[in-house]
Symmetry: C2
Amino acid sequence: MAGTGCASAGGANRGVFMRALVFDQTVRYQRNHADPEPQRAEALVRVRLAGICATDLELTRGYMGFTGVLGHEFVGTVEAGPKTWIGKRVVADINCVCGHCDMCQHGLSNHCRDRTVLGIQGRDGCFADFVAVPVRNLLEVPEAVSDEQAVFVEPLAAAMQVIKQCKIESRMRVVVLGSGRLGLLVAQVLRTTGCKLEVIGRNPDTLSFCEKKGIQSRFVGDVAPRADRDLVVECTGAPEGFNYATRLVRPRGMIVLKSTYAADAPLNLAAVVVNEITVLGSRCGPLPEAINALARRQVDVVSMVTKQFPLSRGAEAFEAAADPRHIKVLLKPEPGGGGNP
Amino acid sequence: MAGTGCASAGGANRGVFMRALVFDQTVRYQRNHADPEPQRAEALVRVRLAGICATDLELTRGYMGFTGVLGHEFVGTVEAGPKTWIGKRVVADINCVCGHCDMCQHGLSNHCRDRTVLGIQGRDGCFADFVAVPVRNLLEVPEAVSDEQAVFVEPLAAAMQVIKQCKIESRMRVVVLGSGRLGLLVAQVLRTTGCKLEVIGRNPDTLSFCEKKGIQSRFVGDVAPRADRDLVVECTGAPEGFNYATRLVRPRGMIVLKSTYAADAPLNLAAVVVNEITVLGSRCGPLPEAINALARRQVDVVSMVTKQFPLSRGAEAFEAAADPRHIKVLLKPEPGGGGNP
């Protein structure tokens, strides 16, 4: 490893090869994937638990043209890197940035021109025994936050980005469109603002999750859109969601877009023009605030986990994650990992 | 006519029938279209001059499902209505509103739930000898503004809406995408803000108009989009414009959409999400400010007129307006109109 002040722990279990879930046309489990080689200012993290999200599913449909080790939601333990980090339980910002470009220089490093993104763009991800991450991206997970909670830090931060970007007032009529894993996180975050909140979705199982949490929800078939909502957060993960959102939002209202998907879809933006709607794209969010919200139990993520698979059954896990009956599907590397045993 | 205090002038030329350009599957000139019957609180305006815009062309492609007398850009003389208005030279707000719905009550009457829109939605337009307009929609045209200028009040107001909705600062790098009639108006309005402005278009004729006005402009084929503009105002009138705009605008930048079009188009909003772009729909604008800008000669509209047709050659005028070699095409009812002579 390059860099000074670096050390290594748990090397006994670490070898030249590791187990990993790799995408290249198809999702394949590999027992002999090369261990990541951390570059200067990077740490090597042993993955404790990882989560599958809609972006992972879209990547396997061609989104971003990604190939490599999938996965960007994880909690792990630092095995090699600066001494102060060794043995620490961590999560990480997924955007690995240059620090020099115009975006980085203007405080918009999440939009770095030369970034790589964990398991999404130009960099292997976390569905593996190990993942290499820039040290500056690491955040320590406090004891109050369990592994099952910590694996939600990244998507919860993305959900919290909505309230960072939009000023939500209690008088506002807000719809979360889509009751999947991201929709349920966004709904729980929005509930903390005291706004007039409703989740509209098509899945009875996930809508019942809302009910349990005291969040008003309705089946999409029971809704007659009346263009009267101040804000619609589009979390369906499907291109049809946008057109529907334009029918829910009031003139001069706002649609926040969280969904990314691989394929073009037939859209007509005339409603955006005629009703002078603001459409706001929203991606990654503030990880420290997400950790804080989990530590304070402001958001319940643990009940969202409906299935956990070992890494070796990763392909099966991807199928489960694509099944709307599941909310969150986790992946856990088998103990003793490190390959080449 | 209903209402009190109403009078009529020039009735000698007014009959039961008038000449009009009507759309119903095709654009047809009718010599015997029924005169409009002004309702309570409406005035009857004799059209002096009218303009064809992209929305008119889209209406003839099925946009809004409109049928009836086309046209919403005009200057005219009040022939019947409240005494104080008779003989006045006027333009008019095209949105005819209820005054009672939630939008009207909240100061958003342009978005009235029950509105009709002149020549666009549920109400005959101005490509005719006469048009009926709510009195509250009328604005008197000052002497300093000629008919040729006044016919631009409505589209210029729509262009000015961009600077009403967005705070434009002089350091901002702004692109107007599309050098058609609306793009050239938006560009002239944006120039008044002192921002770093460039027009990108595909038409050498209209780009040379920019050059004459001292506005930087480039042929689209000469541009390599680098996602570095703070604001892109999309005025192409074509669905492809949106995708191109997402390649011009910087992360966290803004796209203002002015184009409406009839057909769905294959779009992918992933770039909006990933780059956290704000997309802002923009429609009608402040008519009094447009009149003021014309009176002060802040915007040159007269040189934008490349062709004028009599109403009887309306179908030909529509063909000319669809030809990119033309910027603005005007329609002028023949003298002595009023049909049934």
